[in-house]
């Protein structure tokens, strides 16, 4: 497992590669805080055990549902 800081640094590098020409160093620092919040959320979610059968709570329907 990577450490939280390594994860944030890696994601920040991705943002720099994509959008680095558009952001200032101060803005990058704020983006890093945004990444920390996203990673905190991911860690909170990964603390909950999911079973293989726990499906996403969204319902895909093939086109042409006769009830529509």
């Amino acid at each position: 497992m990577t450490t939280p800081n390594r994860e944030a640094e890696t994601l920040l590098a991705l943002i720099q590669a994509r959008y680095g020409d558009r952001v200032t160093p101060d803005e990058l620092e704020e983006i890093r805080k945004g990444l920390d919040a996203i990673l905190d959320g991911a860690r909170a979610m990964h603390a909950i055990k999911l079973e293989n059968g726990d499906e996403p709570h969204q319902f895909f329907k093939p086109h042409g549902d006769p009830r529509q």
């Binding site: 704020e30 959320g41 726990d54 709570h57 529509q68």
Partner: protein, 465 residues
């Protein structure tokens, strides 16, 4: 007779139907208010004067000839500027789209037109409905939305103009949208009723998408009763929005033959502003006369993280072109020009984990709410904040808002109505959140509460035009 400004629709419609109030004169009055008071509050993007007067003349003629369409016939209203309108600009609150005209009418626009309501204005909103992560009120092409109760404070967002316009008597009602808090927040700050329907109750066709599985449209009005009337006009299945609920909905707020059963999350107001907490406790005492009130707990789940991850992932996709093209550099709030970059790194597996946990969240909340008619809480933890102040210093979703996260994440209906004022004269609100599809139950509770209190009859004092 004197033109009614803050008259609830239930009363206004009777006067219109009886010919005591002219839709044309009424529309002229509200257009004048929108044009004079609206800019002082930064509440309006475009006043639709010529369209409105044409509609008003048609409504007046129809009513005179006995073709009365129903309680919204001849009633002026305003639309949050994320609802598409043919021939009128639709800006999404964003400077780069100031003059953009879309070639479609949103279903809500069409339904209200069919009900005879008169569109008088496109109302201001936070750019992209707050979808870029704004942290302070100056995040709209129309400037920071000012609260009619004190223009040095904020309206809340993102349906900012909708809240301000109803509170200031610029329109009798408005339509807003909520992904997470965008109807309840301005309803709270502006001291009006704001209703978030069950996900899928109202077609989102023609409305800006922020997050496909969280977006809802709903009314802001003087009273809970008005919200029910308006919701009936805009609710219903729509082939253009496959998420719409197939069963038609009718407003019928019949109270049960027993006391209401209300639950409160243990400690939900503990971290609220003291005056907010005090007003909430007084509201509970009032409700205690007509309801049983029980404290409950929800199972320990990362509610905020689940809903925020869904919002982040879907918004990253919904606005991908706008972010990648650099359009966001033209936005008003400095933080909106770089805020969306962080979420572009969100992993697909984390989004799917959030959607899988959403199922657990739905089960947990459904079980907890089963014995109750509604969960109640303060609509916001604090009253309107100063217009020049950051209202959050951390990234969105990092703060605690279990009612907002669970309510929106599970697609539950909720209404905010005023429950008092602070010592500085700012309104506070109580939110009443119900089970999915049971809008009538929470409307009945809110109506009953408003029958026992007079907070909704108080209006801000503004210099008349």
């Amino acid at each position: 007779m004197k033109t009614p400004i803050h008259t609830p629709i239930s009363e206004l419609s009777k006067q219109i139907k009886a010919g005591k109030v002219s839709p044309v004169e009424l529309t002229e009055t509200f257009l004048n208010r929108l044009e004079t008071i609206g800019p002082r509050l930064n509440a309006v993007v475009n006043v639709t004067r010529s369209h409105a007067l044409k509609q008003a003349r048609k409504a007046e003629k129809e009513i005179e000839e006995g073709h009365y369409r129903g309680p919204l016939h001849g009633v002026p209203w305003g639309a949050k500027d994320l609802l598409s309108t043919k021939n009128i600009p639709t800006t999404w609150g964003a400077e780069p789209f100031r003059d953009r005209i879309l070639d479609t009418d949103a279903t809500a626009i069409t339904k209200l037109r069919d009900a005879g309501a008169i569109l008088c204005a496109k109302l201001s909103m936070i750019e992209f409905a707050g979808g870029m992560g704004y942290r302070q009120p100056n995040a709209s092409l129309t400037g920071p939305p000012r609260n009619p109760w004190n223009p040095d404070t904020w309206t809340g967002g993102s349906s900012s103009g909708s809240g301000a316009a109803v509170a200031a008597g610029l329109v009798p009602f408005a339509i807003g949208s909520e992904t997470w808090g965008s109807i309840l927040s301005p309803a709270n700050n502006c001291g009006v009723a704001g209703f978030r329907p069950t996900y899928g109750r109202v077609s989102r066709h023609g409305a800006m998408a922020l997050c496909w599985t969280l977006d809802k449209l709903g009314p802001l009005a003087q009273t809970a009763d008005d919200c029910g009337t308006i919701l009936q006009a805009i609710a219903g299945p729509d082939p253009l929005d496959p998420t719409t609920i197939l069963t038609p909905w009718r407003y019928n707020p019949r109270p049960p033959k027993r006391k209401f059963r209300i639950a409160v999350l243990r400690g939900v107001a503990d971290d609220a502003n003291p005056e907010v907490k005090d007003n909430f406790e007084k509201a509970l005492k009032t409700l205690g006369g007509v309801a049983t009130i029980e404290e409950i707990d929800l199972p320990d789940l990362p509610y905020e993280a689940i809903t925020r991850t869904i919002l982040n992932a879907e918004a990253a996709s919904a606005f991908e072109d706008i972010v990648d093209s650099g359009t966001i550099r033209g936005l008003t709030a400095p933080e909106d020009r770089w805020g969306p970059y962080a979420r572009t790194t969100l992993l697909a597996t984390d989004y799917l984990r959030a959607m899988r946990l959403r199922g657990k969240m739905v089960k947990a909340v459904t079980k907890a709410m089963k014995p109750h008619d509604a969960l109640v809480a303060p609509s916001a933890k604090k009253p309107a904040t100063p217009i020049g102040e950051e209202f959050r210093k951390v990234a969105p979703g990092a703060t605690k808002d279990i009612m907002g996260a669970a309510g929106n994440g599970c697609g539950l209906p909720a209404i905010s109505v005023p429950d008092g004022f602070t010592s500085t004269g700012l309104p506070t609100g109580i939110q009443i959140m119900g089970k999915p599809y049971e809008e009538n139950t929470i409307l009945a509770i809110a109506r009953t509460y408003q029958g026992l209190t007079d907070w909704h009859t108080r209006h801000p004092t503004l210099p008349e035009p």
